[in-house]
Each structure stands twice: as structure tokens, then as C-alpha cells.
Amino acid sequence: MTEGEEFHFFCRRFVNGDELALIQLVENGFPNFLNGNFWVWKYRKNLDFDPSLIVVAEKDGEVVGCNHWLVRDLKLSSSLKVRTALGSDIVVHPKHRGKGVGKQLLRFLRLRGDYRNKGIILNYMFADPKLSKRLYGPTLGYVLAPNSTTTYKKLLNLRNLKERIRKLNRSIESKKELQRKLKGLKISVLFRLRGAPLFAIRIESNRIYLEEGEREDSDVVVETSLHLLSLTIEASNSMLYLVKAWIIGKVKIRKGLLKAFKLMKAFKVLQLAFSED
């Protein structure tokens, strides 16, 4: 067992009986991803399932973290494939994050060295580049793999956005700060986004409305892609990012440019609606 440095926990191999706790942990860690039979399918039903390659972090008898290695033959060229392990579903309970649990989970199997007998010579994972730069790279020697893949996406409906606007309206009702931001702001913005249905957002008397489809009465028309809009919202200085994108033509404002100041003010409010909780 490997002791945590500051926080009292230990890492160990998976044993029968851990399954339910792991399922719960993984499902809580990835709420927007699949649930239900996901863990059972991915591990128990996997042809190469190897329980000795699952690590569990335990604190006072409670499972607080996990890391899974899935054995796979990865193709490195037309004629070469090597035995690898995909590091998957690395989760630490939100209550115990930032205390070194993740680091120990990642190091455990490497330090044990069992992978050598299994012929595993490479480990790979899919991760957030920011997290990798900070954690996985320096600790474990991960480097970014080459990539010739691209992703295409399209929103099929506005269900999530509607839900977020509903929540935002509830927040407006209860928070005076938001009410101040919206005071006197009356604007309707039509979004023509590549990868999303047409919609307009109307801000009026301390309330935000989402309207689907073409709106001819909108004050401003914004044309861009769904991806760029997401990047703008996630950017640390989103206003600057938006202006830059507008200057280089990636965001087009077709109508109502004179209302730029009002639009900027509205954008700060819309950011709350678009961004994930």
C-alpha cells in the first residue's frame, strides 16, 4: 500500500465488492457521460478485463478515488502493434481533490510494475491538455500524441440552453447583482450558428427569453460557429476574444453594429446562460 503524503488515505488493487462504489464514483465524476451499465460493460464485459489493473484509493473504509487500466493492442504503423494500457476513468471524489490522491492513483500501477509481466510497454490516455501539462506530464512523462483526427458536432435541439436560461431567470429573480446588470437593458440577439439550430435571445425587463427559429425583429444578428462561441465563452478574457474574432472575421455581426455597447453588456449576461454550470 502506498501512503498519501499529507492526507491520510491509501491506494490498493481492486477487490470483489468494490464494484458498486466504483460505479457510483465514475458516474458522479462524469455526470454528462454515460451511466447505468457503462462501468459493467467497459470493464466486466471487456474481453481483456484484468482486475489487477484497477486501483482504488480508500479513506476510512470509503472509496474516494479510482484509476483503471484497459489492456489494448495499439497500432503504431501498418505492420506494428504493441501491448498498451489505456488509462481510463481516473476519478477522485470532489471532496478529496487537490490532496494528492490523483497523483498516487496514477503512480500506483507503475510503481508496482505488474505491467511488465503482461507485456505492456506503453500507456495512453485521453485528457484535458491543461490538466495534462500541470499533472500528467511532469509526474508521469506523458506527451501529446500526434493527431490527424477532427471532430464534427451539431446541436439537434436547444433543450440544454433552455434549461440554463430557466436557471438563470431563477437566479435573476433572487440576485440583486444580476438585476442591476440587466437594468434598462432591452435587446434581442439572433444567433446564426454553424452546428446549431437558429435561435434568438431576448433580454427584457429583467428576464431572458429564448426564441427558436428566424426572428426578423431582432436588434442584432450574430453569425459564427457553435465551436467558436463555446471557445469565446470559455476564454479567460472573453470580451477581448470576441472582439478579436470579430476583427478577423470569425464572428460576423450582420445587423445592429451600432448597438455594440449594448451587445457587450448583453454578452456578459448571455455568458452565464451559455456556460456550463
Binding site: 471487456n46 497500432k75 493527431n147 464534427y152
Partner: protein, 267 residues
């Protein structure tokens, strides 16, 4: 021939028992020149696609031309197209259009919020169809690799290129920044096209290579350039006059294939 007639040549159906053999073969054949994914066997394909919790036989859509399977898509109720594959010897645009139109209708029916798929960057057919269907290009997931056993990987790469292995000699690697589980000093001995790993130095190495694990890993996987790493002193070798041999070895060590990872391999 009119487009309508061409369209009729291709018909669409859902998965039937034993299709997995042909689908796995099609996948391996189409992506033969790519690396970075798990080669499909029928058993792996069944687990990876058909048994997935959000997939069922009715959500695996196949395009046939007469008796031949010329394309397929594995559509998950979550909105993910786990695999999309078509044979470019046939009319790719018709096949991909049929698959994606079917997928969108299916996902709308099961009330999925989005459709998302991965494809090789240079696949212009998929790009064109996606543009027509108003799908937007977005950032793919980032894949990271970490080598657990450098000597074994280097050996595997060199053995695989045996026919090009015209260099003999003992190459000694010293790696900085090695975690404790990695071997930070090892030799690769090449004699008459045979490659072996030497753990303990017994003889004077012909070339001594000093670098760090990040530089070596990045170089092997093709994200670092050899001249750049030498100029920036991220990699040093001795003696310098054996540069030709050094470059020969390193040109063999580099993995040159494009990396494509289908969504199904994400987990």
C-alpha cells in the same frame, strides 16, 4: 447515370448477426495507413460497438451496394457516432450522406441533444457532407502517451523495420527525468539485423545518446524534429563524427503514420 439512380444502387439496412466479421475487415482495410487505434477483430468490434450500453442492433446502420458492405456507422443514443467507415472505392459522398442522414433522424427520434463524430482530418468527403448537414468542426479530445518500457519499445520498432536495418553497433541511451519505474540507462545492440537490449554496460558503446524522456517520446511519436532537438541540446550524442549512423538509427525510430482515433476507442 442520374444521381437518383446512383442513390438507388446503395441501400441502407441495420445490423444483422455475423456482419461483424465484414465490418471489422472493412474498418481495418480503410484505416490500414493510420496508427493510434486498436485494430479490429470481430470479437473486439462486438464488445466495442455492439455491446456498448447506448448501442443496439437497430442503431448500427450499414450501406450495401448489392451484396457488398460499403459503409457503416455505429450510432449511440448518447449522440456519439462511435464509428463511421466507408469504402472510398465506391461513391463516398452518397454513402456518408446516407449514413449521417439516417443517424440524425435516429438521434432526433431518440431525443438526443447532439450528434458528434470523429473522422480523419484529411477526409474531405466527410467534411463536405458535414458542412452540408450543418455540423461544425470542433476540437477533438487530446491523446497523451507515456512510454513505460523504452528499451522494449525501441526494440519492437527496430525489429519491425528489420529489412531497413543496415546499421550495426551498440547505442547507449541515458535518459534524464526518468521516473523510478523506467530504465534510465540501457543499450540497444544491433548486429546483422538482430536487435537486443543490454541492461548493463559491458563494452564501450559506439554512440552515447543523452536526452530526456519527453524529448525521446516526442521524437518517436513524430511531434519533435531531430534537427531541432540537436540544435536546442535536448538531445546530445557522442562522438559527433558518427552523426550519419545516429541519424540512420533515429530515422528508423520515428513513427511516421498519421494518428486517427475513432470515437469508440476513447473508452
Amino acid at each position: 447515370m442520374q444521381l437518383a439512380e446512383k442513390l438507388n444502387e446503395y441501400y441502407i439496412r441495420t445490423f444483422r448477426q455475423r456482419d461483424e466479421v465484414e465490418l471489422a475487415q472493412l474498418f481495418n482495410r480503410i484505416y490500414v495507413n493510420f496508427a493510434g487505434f486498436v485494430p479490429r477483430t470481430p470479437q473486439y468490434w462486438v464488445w466495442c460497438c455492439l455491446m456498448r450500453p447506448d448501442v443496439n442492433k437497430e442503431s448500427v446502420v450499414i450501406v450495401n451496394k448489392e451484396k457488398d458492405i460499403v459503409g457503416y456507422a455505429v450510432v449511440g443514443e448518447s449522440g456519439n457516432i462511435w464509428e463511421l467507415c466507408y469504402d472510398p472505392q465506391y461513391n463516398g459522398k452518397i454513402i456518408v450522406s446516407k449514413l449521417l442522414n439516417w443517424a440524425i433522424k435516429y438521434l432526433e427520434k431518440v431525443r438526443s441533444d447532439y450528434i458528434v463524430l470523429d473522422a480523419p482530418i484529411k477526409d474531405d468527403v466527410v467534411r463536405e457532407v458535414c458542412q452540408e448537414l450543418n455540423l461544425t468542426e470542433t476540437t477533438p479530445s487530446s491523446m497523451f502517451v507515456s512510454i513505460l518500457d523504452f528499451p522494449k519499445l525501441i526494440c519492437a520498432i527496430l525489429v519491425n523495420k528489420k529489412e531497413m536495418l543496415d546499421i550495426d553497433g551498440l547505442f547507449w541511451f541515458r535518459l534524464k527525468g526518468c521516473p523510478s519505474w523506467c530504465n534510465n540507462s540501457f543499450g540497444i545492440n544491433i548486429r546483422a539485423k538482430k536487435v537486443s537490449v543490454i541492461e548493463k554496460i559491458v563494452d564501450r558503446p559506439e554512440i552515447l545518446i543523452d536526452t530526456d524522456i519527453f524529448t525521446l517520446t516526442s521524437y518517436i511519436f513524430g511531434t519533435e524534429n531531430i534537427l531541432k532537438v540537436i540544435i536546442t541540446s535536448k538531445m546530445r550524442f557522442h562522438p559527433f563524427w558518427k552523426i550519419r549512423k545516429f541519424l540512420n538509427l533515429f530515422s528508423l525510430l520515428r513513427i511516421k503514420h498519421s494518428w486517427f482515433r475513432p470515437r469508440a476507442d476513447l473508452g
